[in-house]
Each structure stands twice: as C-alpha cells, then as structure tokens.
C-alpha cells in the first residue's frame, strides 16, 4: 500500500487509541459473546436481582425467592455480546481531491474508527466502495497490513453497491465514510445500505473548499471523478448559489437518514486533521472517551 496511506492510517490508529466505539443496543446479538452486555442475558455469570416487570423472560424468575418473599423477582445474569462494525470508505477520486486534506482525514478516520471499535471489544471489517463494495484485504486485522485501498474509482458508492453488494453481518453497525457528492436519491441508497443493520452512521467528509469555494473570477472547473470541465465566472452571487445548492443536497441526505434511521454527521477534513478532536462524532455518541 502507498506509504502515504500507511502514514495516514497510522495517524488515525494512534488518535483512535483514546476512543471507544459506542455500539447501539441492537447490535449486540448472539448468546455467546466476547464482552459483557448492558442487559440481562443468558450467560452463567450472575449480575443482580430486580423486581419482575411485565415482558421479562419468565424463565429468569427466581422461584426460590418467590417462595421466600411472595414477590416475583428476576435473577439477572450478565449478558454476553459480540458486536460487529462494518466500515465502508468511499474509494472515488473525489476523496483524494488535490490541495485538500480529504484523503488524510478519511483514511485517518477509518483507522480511528476501527481502533476505537477494537477498544470497545468489537469486531470490525473494512470495505472500500470502488468497482463494487470490496473488502479491504486484511481489513479485519491491524491497519498496517491492510491492502487494496486506492482512490481511483470514477463512480460513486451507490454504483458500487449496485455492482457488487457485500455480505455485511446482520445486526452489525455500518459506517460509511464519503463526501456524498453524487447525484442520486439518497433514500434509495440508504435503504439498501442499512438493510439488516443495527445502526447506520453516515460520516460526510468534506474539504473546506467543498463548503466554501475560495476561487473568484473566471474559472475552469474540472470534475476530478468524471474528468469533465466547466467554465464559469465565480463571484459572490455564484458562490452563494453554490452554497445554497450544497445546503439543499445535504438536507436531502439528512432527510433520507432520518427516514431510514441512519445518523448523519459531517466533518471538515482540514479542521479534523489539525488536532483530531471529533466533536461531531462525540455529539452523535459514536465515540466515547476511554
């Protein structure tokens, strides 16, 4: 893998050491797990007593205690869970836009999330949305041995999903790292993306120039993905129009996320890579301090 990519991944790994990934309740599944759950479960390890509440598993009533006290008491055992995280990174060219920190931020974030998942005793698998949603080689293992990551794809994650749908683990948590800058119906995409997922997080990584274009005057714009160009005169009104269009685009995504139960968060690459403080992800309770 490119040395630069390794460097970015290594950065994210080191920064992710201080975080733990917060998994949604639904993501905990299976009778046998590798970590203790937050709910009463079926392991052999006793946790606590509590009063019976309608809906509780009748099998867990401590009948001896009922005999003694004439009260229905639940005997709680520690639940054991095995949460899983699937992280998909957008492998399109726009993620490595020149003169921006999008690539550094995206790879760092990927690494940070997997490290924080590891800290949360959570299994993970990394995927890249290129010519299909392809698993990153050794993507479940240490970051330094990952292979197959590149950003040459000229399509978008939706096309990737169409071409080669992956086999994601049911009730797992899914995270997409992308700039979301493609033209389609976000709802359709998110429906497919969040199929059988316990939780879906869409992290939109934007360069500062994506949000606030600094260019002025006569400009020839090149689309780094499609290779097409466009000549326009950019002034304050043009910039305002751009911002309005971007805001509408983001609103569509946020609306679609709300409809599908996904969570949307946007981070600005240049701001993130300066100190790797991630208030946006802490705010949606994706990350918690260790």
């Amino acid at each position: 893998m490119d040395k630069k990519y390794c460097q970015f991944l290594s950065n994210g790994e080191s920064k992710g050491a201080r975080y733990s990934l917060n998994m949604p309740q639904k993501a905990f599944s299976g009778g046998i797990g590798i970590r203790n759950g937050n709910h009463p479960g079926s392991s052999l390890e006793f946790k606590d007593f509590r009063d019976y509440q309608p809906g509780d598993d009748l099998r867990q009533i401590d009948w001896s205690a009922y005999a003694r006290s004439n009260k229905l008491i639940i005997k709680m055992f520690q639940d054991e869970v095995s949460p899983h995280l699937d992280v998909v990174i957008d492998g399109s060219c726009s993620m490595s836009l020149e003169n921006t920190k999008k690539l550094e931020c995206s790879l760092g974030l990927l690494s940070l999330l997997t490290t924080s998942a590891e800290n949360a005793k959570c299994t993970y698998k990394t995927w890249i949305a290129s010519d299909g949603i392809k698993p990153v080689i050794n993507g479940s293992l240490r970051q330094d041995i990952w292979e197959g990551i590149d950003f040459q794809y000229t399509g978008n994650p939706e096309e990737s999903l169409e071409k080669m749908p992956p086999k994601w683990r049911s009730n797992g948590m899914r995270i997409l790292i992308s700039d979301l800058l493609w033209m389609s119906d976000p709802y359709q995409f998110l429906c497919r993306f969040s199929e059988n997922a316990a939780a879906v997080i869409i992290i939109q990584v934007m360069a500062r120039t994506d949000i606030q274009p600094f260019i002025h005057g006569n400009t020839r714009l090149f689309d780094c993905e499609e290779g097409t160009d466009m000549e326009i005169f950019i002034d304050d009104s043009a910039k305002q129009l751009y911002k309005d269009t971007l805001a509408r685009h983001q609103e569509n995504w946020i609306y679609a996320c709300r409809k599908t139960g996904a969570i949307h968060a946007m981070i600005i690459a240049e701001e993130t890579v300066t100190n790797w403080h991630l208030p946006e992800l802490e705010q949606i309770e994706l990350l918690g301090a260790l």
Binding site: W182, N218, I234
Partner: protein, 587 residues
C-alpha cells in the same frame, strides 16, 4: 485644430492604456480548479467571456467603454485647447480713473471720448483686452476677454471718481501681468512726463486744456455758540473771473446768491458763520466745464461727549484725575450704569457695562520710584506728546502678564493696554501716587487727555463727518447693532450686516451719505477738493506710441477639458449601468 497644454503628461498617461489591457487579460484568464463534483455548479450560468482561444480574443463592450474612459481622462489631463479664431492681440488698457476725466468739452467728457475710441479700436482689430483702473491704487477689472459685450461691461464700471491717478503704478502692474507679452494702452487726459520708449505702449490723451474755477478746500467747525464755514475757491485760469456763488445754510431756506470775483491764478477764501445748528450746509458755483468741484456739502461735526466716572478712593489721586479730566474739557458723571470710561483704583470691578473702558490704578506694597529710562511705545495713541524725562514713576515690581506694554521702566510694566472681549478696553497704570512725580508733570494731563480722546474716537459715529472723495471711512458702532442702512448720495440704499464690528466703506460719490440704525441717523459729507485735479490747464489730446513694431500676437483657444470630462462621466454612467445589468442577470 486641437493642441495640448501638457502633451508630456498625456504621453505618460497613455501608459495606463496597456495597463488596462494587461489587467483585462489577466482578469479574463481562466484559472484551472479541480473540484470534488461539478454537480453543485450545474445551476450556475456559464460565462460568456473567454472559453476557447477564439472567444478569448473577443473583447466585451465593457472593455471598450473602460478604454474610452481612460482615453478621455488622459485627454482631459493634458488640457486640450481648440483654436477657435484667427490670431488676436493681447492688450492691457489702463484707464485713468481720476475725476479730471469728467471734464466736459463740447458736451462730451474725456471719458466718453475715450470709451468711443477704445470701442473703435476693438472693432478695427482683434484684441483680447484686459483693463486696469489707475486710481490711487491700480485695480484690475477682470480677466482678459475678446467679447465686446464684456469689454463694454468693464468700461461701464469705469466711474472716474478717484481724486488722483497713479498711472506709473498701473503701468508697472500691467508689465507684471503681461510679462512684456502684451500690448499696453494708456487712456488718460494728459501727456506723459517722459517720451515713450517701449514699442508695446501707446498713450492716448483725451483731455482739453481749459480754465476752471472750483472749491479746493472746505471746513465746518463749531466755536462756542457759532458754527463756522471756511471755503477756498481757486481760479485755474489766466484771466480774472467774475461769477456767482450760491449759499444755502438750511435746506428749507432759499439759497443766497453772491457775486464772486477772483483774479487769475488766485485763490479766494470765504468764511461764513451761523448759530449752532444741525443743518446741512450747501454751497455751489455757476456751472462750468468741470462740475464736480463746483459744489460743497458740509454737515455738522458730531459732538461726542463722554460719561466719565471717577471711582478712585485715594484722595490725592482722585483729585488729580478730576483736575486732569476738567482740563480736557470733559465732564464727570455720577451715573454708575451708563459710563464710557471709569477711573478706579479697585483691583477688580467696573466691567458690567459692555462698552465701558476702565483706567485702573494699581500699586502694590513693595513699590519703588523709577527715574527711567522709560521705554514708551510711540505708536500707541496714549503716548502721543508724552515727555518722560525728569519724571519719577513709583511702581511695584510685581509682574503683570496680560496686555500690551505701553510704558515700561526696564522690565517693570508701568502702563498696560488690555483689550478685553468685545468693545471693552482697560488701561492699567502700575502707579504709586505717593512716590511719583508724574501727576505734577505736564505728562499727567496729556496722558489723561490721550485716554479720553482715544475713548472719544471709539464712540459710535464717524471720526470726521466731512471727508474728501474716495476716502476710506470707518463707522464706529455701539455693541449689539447687527446691521446698518447706508444711503448713498446717488440714492441707492443698502443694508450691511455688521455683527457688532465697526465697518468701513469708501466714499465713491460726492454728496451726503446717511448711516442709520435703530432710530439714529449719522451724516457724512463727501466733497471733491483737489488742487491738482481741478487745474485743467495741463490737459491735452494726443495719441503717442506705435504698435506696428510689436509682434505680439495671441491665439484664442477654447479649453476642451470640460468636454472630455463630460464624455468620460457619460461613459462611466453607461459602464455602471452595464455592470449592474450584468450583475442582475447573473443573480
């Protein structure tokens, strides 16, 4: 044909045009920018500027407008001049503004003859003329003009009412203005004292030698209960004259006709008297060729009486001041509200009245007698007639910082003149009466008299009520008078805003001037009395000098700067309109 006053500036300014090109090319060049996606830019309108190489060469209308604006500004800066007519001769005409130009011969004054000659000359050739009035002081009438209407306008302001004309000074001014590049024409009624040397100078005299009789001196003054009138009538001819004089002591009375015989080249003095009155005295002679010296008006001199308060506690000093005031023929008053001048030995006080003056005698404890040398400001009216030798002046050596020192003994200030706000004034005398001999010397009444006289001169009214023609007159106003009305002898009435300040004016006409404010009226008589101007025997008619040698020509141009500024402003408006419409389209 257009020529440029500053062609070098124009050439330098042309550098801005390639600069505009450069700016425009730089502005039109497309910068390459990679973006994540074009989808967010799809709503934008594509620019009509630039694009392919061919389209780049196509320059928009705005550029041409900017280019034209630049060119117009450059042209305006270089001050383009358009030659409109054939060559004109620059000419400075010096007009003799003395009264003698009003002398009549064959029903025409010298001034009328001169005006006709000037207009004829202007018609004959193309001139750009400028006029200088040669009165007591030369005065330029206005800028150079080629328009006959403007020339007539200048000539109409030539009044010939100056008691004298200083043609030498006027020629010097003409040389200064023309820098020897302009022709000079002197219009007068007499011949030059020296022969003309300059080829750019012509001397036209329109006077006629003739005899004249006129008033050359007049005075009205009061002695006790009588008003006396004194006249001097001069005969400027080589033969005896037998004529009549008309005297009217009262405007309502019938004029008194008297026969008047004056021998050739002689002066006759007349003295008349009447009981004290406030009437305008009017006298005149039979009409002759020079009217202005045939008539005299005399108004009574205003009697200015001072209200004086002696508020001195020191008994000897008080008595001494009292005697000096009495010697100055002024009276003391006890009215403490209305006084013009106050003598006091109080350290402060007596400043309530807005126009009262204070003479303050101050003496400290540690006083010494100074025997001199005394330094006096001889330009100050209080020191007039003072002889400070052999005077001992007792004074304290304390420092008085404010005011103008009038008399000092070394660095000890003895008499100080303090100008306060408005019309108030204060004289401070650093005087220890007991150690001084000043009050026993002749200087004491002189000093007090000077103080009272100076105060009198600042009382409301004229200093002299009978003045000569073309005299600068000062009218002293009491405080709080904001405007006064002036009625001139010719009947014109004008109102002048004074704002508490005294005002000056020049007596341009002979006759009676009336100044009035509130319900008070002050009279001023202006008379023409001049031995030199009344003597018409030196007047001549002749034309001296020749311009044929002079090769001075001037081309008449119209400055076109305004036109280019106007065009650039118009283009600028179009430019703004175009830009705003483009902006609207874009939005």
């Amino acid at each position: 044909m257009i020529s440029f006053t500053y062609p070098v500036i124009a050439l330098f300014s042309l550098i801005t045009i390639p600069a505009l090109f450069a700016v425009y090319l730089f502005r039109s060049k497309f910068q390459k920018v990679y973006v994540s996606s074009l989808m967010l830019w799809q709503n934008q309108k594509k620019t009509s500027k630039g694009g392919s190489k061919l389209r780049k060469i196509k320059t928009p209308l705005i550029f041409f407008i900017e280019l034209l604006i630049f060119i117009c500004i450059v042209l305006a800066v270089s001050r383009p001049l358009f030659r409109i007519r054939k060559q004109v001769k620059p000419l400075i005409i010096i007009l003799d503004d003395s009264v003698s130009m009003q002398a009549i011969k064959d029903n025409m004054t010298s001034q009328h003859l001169a005006i006709q000659a000037i207009l004829n000359e202007i018609d004959k050739d193309s001139y750009a003329a400028r006029f200088i009035l040669a009165g007591k002081e030369p005065q330029v009438l206005g800028p150079m003009t080629t328009k006959k209407q403007k020339i007539k306008q200048y000539l109409s302001s030539w009044k010939c009412n100056s008691p004298t004309s200083n043609i030498g000074k006027a020629i010097a001014l003409a040389h200064e203005l023309g820098k020897k590049n302009e022709l000079k024409l002197i219009i007068t009624d007499h011949l030059p004292e020296q022969t003309l040397k300059n080829s750019d100078l012509q001397w036209w005299a329109f006077g006629t030698k003739q005899s004249n009789i006129g008033f050359t001196a007049a005075k009205r003054f009061r002695t006790g209960t009588k008003d006396k009138y004194f006249f001097e009538i001069s005969n400027f001819s080589d033969k005896d004259i037998n004529t009549y004089i008309y005297i009217q002591k009262d405007p309502s009375s019938k004029p008194q006709k008297r026969q008047l015989k004056i021998k050739s080249n002689q002066k006759k003095h007349l003295t008349l008297e009447s009981p004290v009155n406030q009437n305008i005295f009017h006298t005149w002679l039979e009409k002759d060729s020079f009217l202005v010296d045939n008539e005299i008006f005399l108004v009574p001199e205003e009697l200015k009486k001072l209200c004086i308060l002696n508020d001195i506690k020191h008994p000897k000093l008080r008595e001494s001041v009292k005697r000096a005031v009495k010697a100055a023929k002024s009276d003391l008053t006890n009215n403490k509200d209305l006084y013009d001048i106050v003598f006091t030995d109080k350290i402060i006080g007596h400043t309530k009245s807005p126009s009262s003056w204070v003479v303050r005698f101050l003496s400290g404890n540690k006083t010494k007698g100074y025997i001199g040398p005394f330094v006096t400001d001889t330009s100050h009216p209080l020191t007039e007639g003072l002889l400070m030798e052999s005077v001992i002046w007792g004074a304290s050596n304390k420092t008085i910082t404010s005011g103008l020192p009038v008399i000092t003994a070394g660095n000890i200030l003895l008499l100080i003149d303090v100008h306060s706000y408005g019309k108030r004034r204060e004289f401070i005398l650093n005087l220890d009466f007991d150690k001084s001999t000043l009050q026993n010397s002749i200087n004491w009444p002189i000093l007090i008299w000077n103080m009272l006289d100076l105060r009198k001169k600042h009382l409301p009214g004229f200093l002299n009520n009978n003045v000569n023609l073309a005299t600068d007159v000062t009218f002293k106003l009491p405080k709080s008078i904001k405007e006064v009305k002036i009625t001139e002898p010719v009947g014109s009435i004008s109102t002048i805003k004074t704002n508490d300040a005294d005002f000056n004016f020049n007596t341009k006409y002979t006759g009676i001037y009336k100044i009035s404010y509130n319900d008070k009226t002050f009279l001023l008589a202006s008379n023409f009395l001049s031995n030199m101007e009344s003597d018409l025997r030196g007047l001549e008619t002749n034309r001296l000098g020749n311009w044929s040698d002079a090769k001075i020509i001037k081309q008449d141009y119209i400055d076109l700067t305004w036109l280019f500024i106007l065009i650039s402003l118009g283009l600028l408006s179009v430019h703004i309109l175009l830009l705003s419409s483009k902006k609207r389209d874009r939005s």
